[in-house]
């Protein structure tokens, strides 16, 4: 048995909090001293007591300055104007900068361009030029210095506030708020500001330091306070010549400046760390076992592996796992079940904050836990490869394809002259072109699928024995994902490495894996051949996963009602000069469901934004319950806005993190049903939460306290609160894991039936229309390719786009029902 002793350092956040409190305390004391100083000073600032640069003692406890005035008194007098001027300049600049920056971000277009241009002009002039020019205009003294500091700070604050606002405006909850028809000031004050506040506070701290720099430097240069007034900067200027006689005359104001500025910087640093220091965790001080290859030739062998978090909770609990060469094992489980931790531990990696508490891991027969970093790297270089989840971040942005793959070959000491041939072979293995032009490409010149393949080629280049893939397809569109999985199958057929595949979608796993292991709460609760587990899941976790990907029965065609609630005729939308949607006609009846599907980039999201009026640049006619509605949201009446409600895409982002659930649901009630009193609103909020399967106690919670599925339910309740005729759902389930998505879809279907509300569902996932039924419209290249009843279209696709979407949907093997319902 290997003995593993993990040393985990004490939690950092606590230390950081302590540091922030200490810095805050010293800062408060310094500012108080500066403000109250003139009242505490024993003498006036200009009162001459003694000879110049006199020693400490008697009436002058710190000695005297260049004129013979009491140093202590001048020091106490010299902080107030500095602090007040800096705060004043900062406040003025921030007030102006916030108004200008936010307006520019919100209005955009020409105003935004002019604001940026103006800020550029001010930024092109050095601070000392602005300072001296301002002082000429206002004369020497505090006023001019304060004004100059404000002018210097102003353009940078505009840019920060503008960038911050632009970022905040991208949140789904801001979109939902705008689509609801909220006024500009409401969006800024209630939705944007609370979430921009931490960033802006940190920025204001940094700018305060800048303001003190400018004001004290101006005093030092003789622009600010004029003698006999005292100022810390001025004191350093005055007493420079007596440095050798009375160093305190310079040291005391210098120290005061340092304390003031250092505490502000420390506070900003501790309270708002720019980057979290991810420590490369956990030294595993273990004696590596003798690495004689074990009997039995598994590529990976895990025994009794236990991993704990710093908090003491168990992430992996005595896990055993074996993987024979050339086999594909899928690790499935809900998020948080420990599957990624297990996959990384297979390669000897433990994420910061976690520690191995016991067990062994053997890679190609050699023990990996307890190896020193260098030996571990060498072992991995010979035997292992890894492909991360997100193609946007899986490649270094500055490495060309051939260079990237070449680095992995270099790690295995392949001579330089042999590398081009092997790079080409690796690219072919990953089904990529190996021509010189492709090999010179940078990651941004590749599609998402190509990037994952390049990562795969890099991992395969040195012919590893074990390949670990961490949800390699979850960020790809279905067609690309299907292609990648097919290639994994081919790789297996060609005698490739053993593959450990982390996945959350059982249907995809079914097509490639030999075996599947189901993880729940850090334990392997079930494992076996794929077909067996899928057909007869033995564990509760396994059953949930299987249920989630099964489409029960083809939904019946929905009853058609004569009067449509939403009619769209000839919608043509532009972005800039490009036409992104061309002549779209759609009709939805009350209680009906219309799914808009299509490949990414086909115009689905734009269509939705046209319907909500967030994208106002379109022509054509939109009628709601028979009445025409203007294109842009700001031109729509409150009654028109009420009829259409948006359910945004990302559960992380669909609710404002600062608003409790109850307040979020109550807002549309206040807007659209002003007749309700406070008690009625509360009752209605509870009723709505109840309706979406939550309870009244959720009303007090913040979104952070809810799961992804619960958040999407709240977003639904918020949309329902307005009393809409049509619900617009933007990929409302695509970010949820399959079991949760299934329950949310069931809820949508229920609401449609019971409230007679029409659904317009935008999705790239064909299982969504298969579950919801109703009608389907296939959108590609800005036009509707095909419409019809869901069952008909899925069974007999008339358009090649539809057919291609269908082939991308992985089907479960028998006995699970096939996913395309036949009539």
């Amino acid at each position: 048995m290997t003995t593993v002793r993990a040393t985990v350092r004490a939690a950092v956040p606590k230390r950081r909090r302590l540091r922030a409190w200490a810095a805050g305390g010293v800062l408060a004391a310094t500012v108080l001293l500066a403000l109250a100083g003139p009242a505490l000073a024993p003498h006036g600032p200009g009162e001459v007591l003694d000879l110049p640069y006199g020693p400490a003692g008697g009436a002058a406890p710190l000695g005297t300055d260049h004129l013979g005035a009491d140093l202590l008194s001048r020091f106490l007098h010299g902080g107030r104007s500095l602090v007040l001027l800096s705060l004043g300049a900062l406040g003025a600049a921030y007030l102006g900068g916030a108004v200008v920056g936010m307006t520019a971000a919100l209005r955009g277009g020409r105003l935004d361009a002019w604001v940026l241009r103006g800020a550029d002009v001010l930024l092109s002039l050095p601070a000392f030029l602005l300072l001296s020019v301002t002082v000429v205009a206002t004369g020497r003294g505090s006023l001019g210095v304060g004004a100059a500091a404000a002018v210097v700070l102003f353009p940078e604050i505009i840019r920060v506030v503008r960038a911050c606002t632009l970022q905040a405006l991208q949140h789904d909850y801001v979109e939902a708020s705008l689509a609801r028809g909220e006024r500009t000031w409401y969006v800024l004050v209630r939705e944007v500001l609370p979430n921009a506040a931490p960033v802006l506070t940190a920025d204001a701290g940094v700018r305060f330091v800048g303001a003190v720099f400018i004001v004290s430097t101006a005093s030092f240069l003789g622009y600010g306070a004029q003698p006999p007034d005292a100022d810390w900067g001025l004191m350093i200027l005055e007493n420079r010549d007596g440095l050798s006689l009375q160093p305190l005359a310079v040291a005391v104001p210098a120290a005061a400046l340092l304390v003031l500025l250092l505490t502000v910087n420390l506070l900003v640093d501790s309270a708002f760390p720019g980057v979290a220091v991810r420590r490369r965790a956990v030294q595993l001080a273990a004696e590596p076992e003798p690495t004689a290859p074990e009997s039995g030739d598994s590529a990976l062998s895990v025994r009794e592996l236990t991993v704990r978090a710093e908090s003491g909770s168990t992430v992996l609990d005595r896990v055993d796992l074996d993987l024979a060469p050339g086999r594909i094992l899928a690790l499935v489980g809900a998020s948080g079940s420990g599957k990624t931790t297990l996959a990384l531990a297979a390669l000897g990696e433990v994420r910061p904050g976690l520690a191995v508490a016991g067990g062994t891991v053997r890679l190609a027969g050699q023990s990996v836990l307890g190896l020193r970093e260098r030996a571990l790297r060498a072992l991995r270089g010979r035997h292992a490869g890894y492909v991360p989840q997100d193609p946007r971040t899986s490649l270094a942005p500055t490495l060309r394809v051939a260079d990237l793959v070449g680095e992995f070959l270099r790690a295995r000491a392949v001579p330089r002259s042999d590398r081009p041939e092997l790079v080409a072979a690796a690219l072919r293995l990953a089904r990529l072109p190996d021509d010189p032009a492709f090999r010179r490409r940078l990651p941004h010149q590749l599609s998402g699928g190509q990037r994952q393949r390049v990562a795969l080629a890099a991992a395969l280049a040195h012919r590893p024995d074990l390949l670990v893939l961490d949800e390699p397809t979850s960020a790809l569109d279905p067609a690309t994902a299907a292609g990648l999985l097919a290639d994994l199958r081919q790789l297996r057929a060609d005698g490739g490495p053993a593959i450990l595949l982390v996945a959350h979608d059982l249907a995809q796993v079914a097509e490639v894996a030999d075996e599947v292991a189901v993880l729940a709460d850090g334990r392997i609760v079930e494992r076996g051949p794929v077909a067996e587990v899928l057909a007869r899941p033995a564990s509760a976790a396994g059953r949930r996963l299987v249920e989630a990907v099964r489409v029960t029965a083809a939904p019946k065609a929905l009853p058609r009602v004569a009067e449509p609630v939403l009619e769209l005729a000839g919608l043509t939308a532009r972005r800039g000069r490009a036409i992104v949607l061309d002549g779209i006609d759609l009709v939805v009846a009350p209680g009906d469901c219309l799914s808009v599907v299509g490949p990414s980039g086909g115009g689905k999201t734009t269509l939705l934004r046209c319907l909500t009026g967030l994208h106002g640049d379109w022509s054509g006619e939109l009628r709601l319950a028979g009445a025409a509605v203007p294109p842009a949201v700001r031109d729509r009446s409150r009654a028109q806005l009420r009829r259409l409600q948006l359910v945004p895409q990302d559960p992380q982002d669909s609710l404002n993190p600062r608003h409790p659930v109850g307040a979020a649901v109550a807002r549309p009630l206040r807007l659209h049903r002003p007749d309700l009193g406070p008690a009625d609103v509360r009752a209605e909020v509870h009723r709505l939460l109840d309706r979406v399967g939550l309870s009244g106690e959720h009303a007090e919670r913040l979104p952070a306290g809810l799961s992804g599925g619960q958040r999407q339910r709240v977003a639904l309740a918020r949309a329902l609160a307005a009393g809409p005729d049509v619900l617009l759902c933007d990929e409302a389930t695509s970010a949820l894991d399959p079991p949760t998505a299934a329950t949310v879809l069931a809820l949508l279907d229920e609401l449609r039936r019971e409230l007679d509300v029409a659904l317009v569902v935008v999705t790239h996932d064909l299982t969504v229309p298969a579950r919801l039924g109703g009608r389907i419209a296939v959108l590609a290249d800005g036009t509707v390719r095909e419409t019809g009843e869901v069952a008909d279209v899925l069974a007999h696709p008339a358009d090649p786009v539809t057919a291609q979407l269908l082939t991308a949907v992985p089907a479960l093997p028998e006995p699970a029902p096939t996913r395309t319902p036949h009539p």
């Binding site: 002039l125 000392f128 030029l129 440095l243 420590r279 590893p464």
Partner: protein
């Protein structure tokens, strides 16, 4: 073959963007000069009063004002200056009649020398120390560097400069306390004059750059791409060289450009602290004596430098980080 049409399509777009950027830069410079002119022209008093105040009566001031052309309306004076400036003539100083270009050239050389020496130390030291600390994030070495840089960014330059003089000039007597070159000589010939001003300028800018690079390194080191490289067995020195360093340096480029502009365009504190004859002190003196042609000349030079360096930084950042190029 596939690369060719892409290239042909790409060039005019790049050219268009370069042209648009240059036009923007020229506009910025025009606006900056107008702004500086407006504030100096509209403030009470002018060059005539500044030169003769207390020494001559109103009639003599009026005569001088007429001689200098200051009784023309401000906008004709600005257009007059602009017309000549566009033809390469920056005018003559109101204070002593020297051509502005001659005055500016001498001072600009001194500022450029001081700034260039500082920049040459700043870039490698900033990147090196930032990388070193970032790779040891959370360890003792990193904490020392972090606390040290945090202290330095909390000290205004004039405090650092004064303390350096206290230590090296007054205390140890190793270096001169003032950096005024001997008459007719360039500071080139007396390198010891540059030491304290350079150290002063380095203090804040180096600390800021180390912090920037350090946080970039920490972020890059935590990325998926680095994880994949480490799990694929790539040795750490190659991971640092090929994965982490480029990702950490790219975001620092625009900030470095701004420091460069700040350093090369004259640094008021270092110059006035050590009596070094650079652009900034010349400009401040010219502002005080209301010597508008000199003020405008220097302002134009410094603003031009800033704008050019920012453009270069944008281009360099786009070159280093092609992904950002597409985002525009």
């Amino acid at each position: 073959m596939r690369g060719v049409p892409r290239l042909v399509r790409g060039v005019p777009r790049l050219l268009r963007r370069a042209l648009r950027a240059s036009a923007g830069a020229v506009g910025t410079l025009l606006a900056a000069s107008a702004l500086v002119f407006a504030t100096t022209a509209l403030a009470p008093g002018d060059a005539a009063t500044a030169r003769l105040a207390g020494r001559a009566g109103p009639e003599q001031i009026a005569v001088l004002r007429h001689q200098l052309g200051l009784d023309d309306p401000p906008w004709t004076r600005y257009l007059h200056w602009l017309w000549h400036a566009l033809h390469g003539d920056l005018g003559t100083s109101y204070a002593n009649g020297t051509p502005v270009s001659q005055l500016v050239a001498e001072r600009a050389g001194n500022s450029l020398l001081l700034g260039a020496v500082t920049a040459l130390l700043l870039v490698p030291l900033g990147v090196g120390l930032g990388l070193w600390a970032g790779l040891r994030a959370g360890r003792a070495a990193d904490r020392v560097v972090s606390l040290g840089t945090l202290t330095l960014v909390s000290l205004p330059e004039f405090v650092v400069g004064t303390l350096l003089v206290l230590l090296f000039a007054v205390g140890l007597g190793w270096l001169p306390a003032v950096s005024v070159p001997a008459a007719g000589q360039s500071p080139f010939t007396q390198p010891e004059l540059l030491v304290l001003p350079v150290l002063t300028l380095l203090s804040v800018s180096l600390a800021q750059n180390v912090r920037l690079v350090r946080s970039g390194v920490i972020e890059a080191a935590g990325s998926d791409a680095v994880l994949a490289a480490r799990l694929g067995g790539v040795p750490e020195h190659r991971v640092v060289l090929r994965w982490i360093l480029p990702a950490a340096v790219v975001p620092a480029v625009p900030v470095l450009a701004r420091y460069l502009a700040y350093l090369l365009g004259g640094t008021l504190v270092a110059e006035s602290l050590f009596g070094y004859p650079g652009l900034a002190t010349a400009l401040v003196n010219a502002t005080a004596s209301r010597d508008t042609p000199v003020v405008l000349g220097i302002a134009l030079l410094v603003a031009g430098l800033t704008v050019t360096l920012n453009l270069a930084a944008d281009a360099l950042a786009a070159l280093l980080n092609p992904a950002a190029r597409r985002a525009h």
